[in-house]
Amino acid sequence: MINFSRHKLNNGLTILVHRDDTTPMAALNIAYNVGSRDEDPNRTGFAHLFEHLMFGGSKNIPVYDEPLQRVGGDNNAYTTNDLTNYYLTLPADNLETGFWLESDRMLELDFCQKSLDVQKNVVIEEFKQRYLNQLYGDSFALLRALAYKEHPYQWPTIGKDINHIEEATLEHVKDFFFSHYAPNNAVLVASGNVNTDEVLAYAEKWFGSIPRREVTPRNLPVEPPQTEYRFQEVKKDVPLDAIYMAWHMCDRLSPEFHTTDLISDVLSNGQSSRLFRRLVIEQQLFTELDAYISGDTDAGLFIVSGKLNPEVTHIQAQQAIEKEIAIISKEPVSESELEKVKNKVEANLLYSEINYLTKAMNLANYEILGSADMINSQAQHYREVTPEKLLSVAQKIFVKSNQSVIHYHKQS
């Protein structure tokens, strides 16, 4: 159980406070309700590029990192398809410095050409390091593009094309900032050794005068139901063959979400799971094999991906996976197998309540999703899954015409 209080400033900024006095530290987490799904298809990678620009100095504070380091603080950020999240930790006595820094960059960035040019380069190097120079680094971009034809989940957060980053201008960047970065489009969470009155006083002082902004309404295309099996083959310079399979699944707020998550756990969470025991250990078809859900806010993907043992063909590998998929769609799981994956989820939820920063991030994520109160009802939702529900959701998802497959070949 995570206790927190919720408050709102006049400009629309939502504030959540969670006290954990087992630490001398405090965390400040600000989530902006903008992700790569909000990008123009011709200007992808912007949400992530922005994450970098946010460290290049703001209107009244020329550098972000140094003043934070001077009070013993540390920070980072990440971008997903659905949101952009910034977080810092510092000794609790210096919490106000965090408010000062974060409010100034919400107020306005120091838009300058030099900072933009350098961060474009850094992002291009990141693109190379994490995607191009990485074995199999393009696989998920390929899978997304195959599975989504309309919805912006078709491109990865780094962007569809490196040219989109190269071509970014200051004008584009300013536009993006003022239409997405706004108090009324953000959630601030303070956690750790903090008290509510102090947090609210700092929030009012530093964020209170930032004007509400007109946020571009989100009007995303809905991905039409997939009606045909999709297949793609690629050949790359990699040491092992690989396979990627995806099925469309429900959105994060659907009542079927937790059931779907448990299906992936039965198949692949831990060394006692079905795919690992049967296909990796017993039949020795794969070096590694995983099943997981993308966890996106809008309708997401159920993914199975693995690397094949050298003498195994893609056809054999795919048949073996499909056989397991068929079993879970036909035979109800036993009570004890279901109990096992539920126990594990429950333990993981408890482990995630240990660290003050993790709690701040999770609260912010749920608040953006709809309400932070959801954080305390997750265990119950998982508890309510039955073998019958699991069977019926599996039958709904695992349909051939809902499937996209990539055979990733090594060049011989």
């Binding site: 013993g72 390091q129 250990i281 333990a347």
Partner: protein
């Protein structure tokens, strides 16, 4: 009324005045295994680190230490691999296995209410592992495949080659595993290593999280009796010689690489040396944090890389400094030159007081962060035990941070970080 809010001025800085000490209770199991407990935390969860002197240092051949550790959960005289996995998964507990230069580690995290069951199965794999033939072959194949993937990366090539030229191919700190090693390793070699090294008199345990008397009792029930094999451990008294390459520059060509991986560095005094705490500050200024000179110059100003860091790596028997990064191939040379410039600047120009103050404040924050929460405290305790250090080591770091001067930084940079004496390895095209 808030009329004038001056956003140019930072709020007051409250310096860190209190750094917690590491308070570990020390006790012994009935068979003498030392147990260090750090009792803290808000959740009913415990982490158990069981540490054996069973690392690369103790092995006769490549893969022996890593695989004998990695296969501890692959089957015992009482449980199959599937049963072991089932027990951990069913109780929502995690086991993490890993061997490093000196230690074979078994790390468990579990809810306290499942402690008895989890310790029971853990003790079984520590005492009764059998390395079954079939699991052995499966593991070899899996790991050979993973190794092939890993070994293709320029970063891995660069890292391995760097340890080889620094230590010489035959030194235990030289990472020199080859794909052929997967053919020559045998089940018997693993069993031999396991029986020799996974013994009570070669073991210590660190507990962190919520700990009660019954935690220790449970450990004693399963791991404290003398029922382990009664072989006494013969610690191999090896005294490997370090043979450093006389050639400073090394390049590994990988034709189709999009980026070049870079490592450059040299030997430094170890963690228990009087200069170490101050040298740690020198390293932080240069490349030890996000605002470091290397990051400011090579990432933030030039945009050559996504990240560049310098590290003081302290192993039990040797320590070295290195800079590591991956850059575009076309700028790898320029990156080396910029690194050399920054190193030279460290030993020729006094550090400005503002920069020094920033680093000092940042490092104090890091110490606080590093000692926050039971699991972090346990990790620190472990690092100190390895070098027979205690809380004084934390005091020494704090004193060094408070008292270091620009002159002292020049002196240490000249003494330990002369760029002309550094070995450089690049891998890429």
């Amino acid at each position: 009324m808030i009329s004038t809010l001056n956003r140019n001025i930072a709020p007051d800085n409250h310096p860190i005045t209190h750094i917690p000490k590491i308070c570990a209770d020390e006790t012994k199991l009935s068979n003498g295994i030392p147990v260090y407990s750090i009792n803290a935390g808000s959740q009913d969860v415990v982490k158990i680190d069981i540490i054996f002197n069973a690392g690369l240092w103790q092995q006769d051949c490549n893969l022996q230490a890593t695989l004998s550790n990695a296969m501890l959960n692959e089957g015992t005289s009482n449980n199959t691999a599937a049963q072991i996995a089932e027990t951990f998964d069913f109780h929502g507990a995690y086991i993490q296995l890993g061997a490093d230069q000196h230690y074979g580690n078994i790390s468990i995290i579990t809810l306290n209410r499942h402690l008895d069951k989890i310790i029971e199965v853990t003790s079984d794999l520590i005492i009764n592992s059998e390395y079954p033939e079939q699991e052995f072959h499966t593991q070899i194949q899996k790991r050979r495949n993973k190794f092939t993937v890993e070994n293709e990366k320029v970063k891995t090539m660069c890292q391995k080659n760097f340890t080889q030229i620094m230590f010489g191919n035959d030194h235990p700190y030289a990472l020199n595993t080859k794909v052929e090693d997967y053919d020559s390793i045998t089940r018997e070699k693993l069993l031999k290593f396991y029986k020799q090294n996974y013994q009570p008199n070669n073991c210590k345990i660190i507990l962190s999280g919520r700990i009660t008397d019954s935690t220790i009792k449970t450990l004693d029930k399963y791991l404290g009796n003398g029922g382990w094999s009664d072989l006494s451990v013969v610690t191999p008294s090896i005294n490997p010689q370090i043979i450093t390459s006389s050639q400073l520059h090394h390049h590994i060509q990988k034709a189709d690489a999009i980026q070049t991986a870079l490592r450059m560095g040299k030997f430094i005094p170890n963690k228990d040396h009087a200069d170490y705490p101050e040298l740690n500050i020198v390293n932080t200024i240069l490349g030890g944090y996000f605002g470091s000179r290397l990051m400011a110059n090579i990432r933030e100003d030039k945009g050559y890389t996504y990240g560049i860091y310098s590290v003081l790596l302290t192993l039990k028997e040797a320590a070295y400094f290195f800079i590591t990064t991956e850059t575009g191939n076309e700028v790898s040379k320029a990156t080396i030159e910029e690194c050399q410039k920054e190193l030279k600047r460290m030993r020729t120009e006094p550090v400005g007081l503002q920069e020094l103050d920033t680093v000092k404040a940042y490092m104090m924050g890091e110490i606080l962060r590093d000692l926050d929460g039971p699991f972090a405290l346990a990790a620190n305790l472990r690092g100190m035990l390895e070098f027979n250090l205690d809380n004084n080591f934390i005091d020494q770091q704090i004193n060094a941070i408070k008292n270091i001067t620009p002159e002292r930084i020049l002196e240490l940079s000249n003494k330990y970080l002369n760029e002309e004496e550094m070995h450089i390895v690049t891998a890429g095209s």
